[in-house]
Symmetry: C2
Subunit: 203 residues, 2 copies
DNA sequence: TTTTTTTCATAATGACCGTTATTAAACCGG
DNA sequence: CCGGTTTAATAACGGTCATTATGAAAAAAA
């Protein structure tokens, strides 16, 4: 019983996501969000809660809709393929939409006021979760001989993530897809090799 | 003629720099800045102009006081030493001060409101200037045989800068100096070599 | 000492921030 | 068709934003 919603909650969340993606958490005003969603202010509040809750929902939606390439990558057979898949798809995502370049995990908040500290920390945790998955995958690669025993899985994971973060900054600065692809190519040329990937000489 | 200034302009600028470094441009309120400088609001305005002008002065001071390692690096004999010097010193700068980790060039603004667009662009130009210097240095390295003819100077420069940007994000997220040093080691592990650096076999 | 000039401190400005009362409209069950 | 319930729209809330008017205090020039 009661009146129906006259707007699509999913579409409103997508619109909010795009605003946050472009302007970050603190850079996005509630006016920006309501205008993008085509919805009055109290409607957004009743549907999602306050601005912080809306951002967290947008971040979850971002992960679901745009980061599918990460679980995809983790299932590839070699560590190098995992890294390549992540880097190549990150470049694609960072440059695919001209009106919101870069990555929400970075654009959302790097530094900010004390009020934004909970959101900043949420993004830190968000990025750390991805990095931990990558580290575990590289640990496995060591046991499988796909990475040398001397490789540091945590350093490799941090290296790949540092590149994605840095390229996200560069994409937000207007770098072309081609330039970032060249960066990825450069990064992958320094990839360590294990007993089975240097050449086709092992069993 | 007239009354003397009762505060040290240089110290006030340093204080403002620290605030911007920690909270970024939009995250720093004028109240934050005046409290850190120990100076009333109109005094900051009369000394530096508005917030944007103050930020630009702080950025210039940041460059002078903390980025001396970049011109230093450019004078080193090999491209690899140039890259190593930049990356190692960037890690040091990003982790040296626990209350303002990361780098002003990134923390200052990655994304933000439309009002902050001029500052965001100024930071883009600031970073681009460093990258251009690096690219030119790598071009020279190619003519000197220090980098192979096949090396792409612009991609290498963008690669090194992407790493510094990404590590700045990670430092701001609380990454330890040791972790970032391991990232640098990974990045440098297979630097491309020219005719004189692979081993000591050339003339 | 008086005048002029600059800085100082207090406090006010209008605008925008995120968040909500409030009231009218729309829907469902009875 | 009417009572109960949910949403919609308008407008207001206190607080903070960057910026500045104002007048007192201080120092050099006359």
């Amino acid at each position: 019983m009661g009146r129906h919603r006259e707007f699509d909650v999913e579409k409103a969340l997508d619109a909010a996501l795009c605003v946050f993606w472009r302007k970050g958490y603190e850079g996005s005003s509630y006016t920006d969000l309501t205008e993008a969603a085509g919805v009055e202010r109290p409607a957004l509040y009743s549907a999602f809660g306050n601005k912080e809750a809306l951002f967290r929902l947008a971040l979850a939606r971002y992960s679901e809709r745009f980061l599918h390439y990460i679980p995809e990558a983790l299932q590839l057979p070699t560590a190098r393929q995992v890294a390549a898949h992540i880097l190549v798809n990150a470049v694609d995502l960072n440059t695919r939409y001209p009106d919101h370049t870069g990555c929400l995990g970075i654009n959302g908040a790097v530094a900010g006021s004390d009020d934004a500290e909970p959101v900043r920390q949420a993004l830190i945790d968000f990025r750390a979760a991805g990095q931990a998955q990558l580290r575990e995958r590289f640990e496995r690669a060591k046991t499988e001989g796909d990475l040398p025993e001397t490789a540091k899985a945590d350093a490799l994971a941090a290296f790949v993530m540092a590149l994605t973060h840095g390229m996200a900054v560069q994409a937000k600065a207007g770098f072309s897809r081609e330039m970032l692809e060249a960066v990825v190519e450069q990064a992958l040329s320094t990839w360590p090799t294990g007993r089975s990937t240097l050449s086709e000489t092992s069993s």
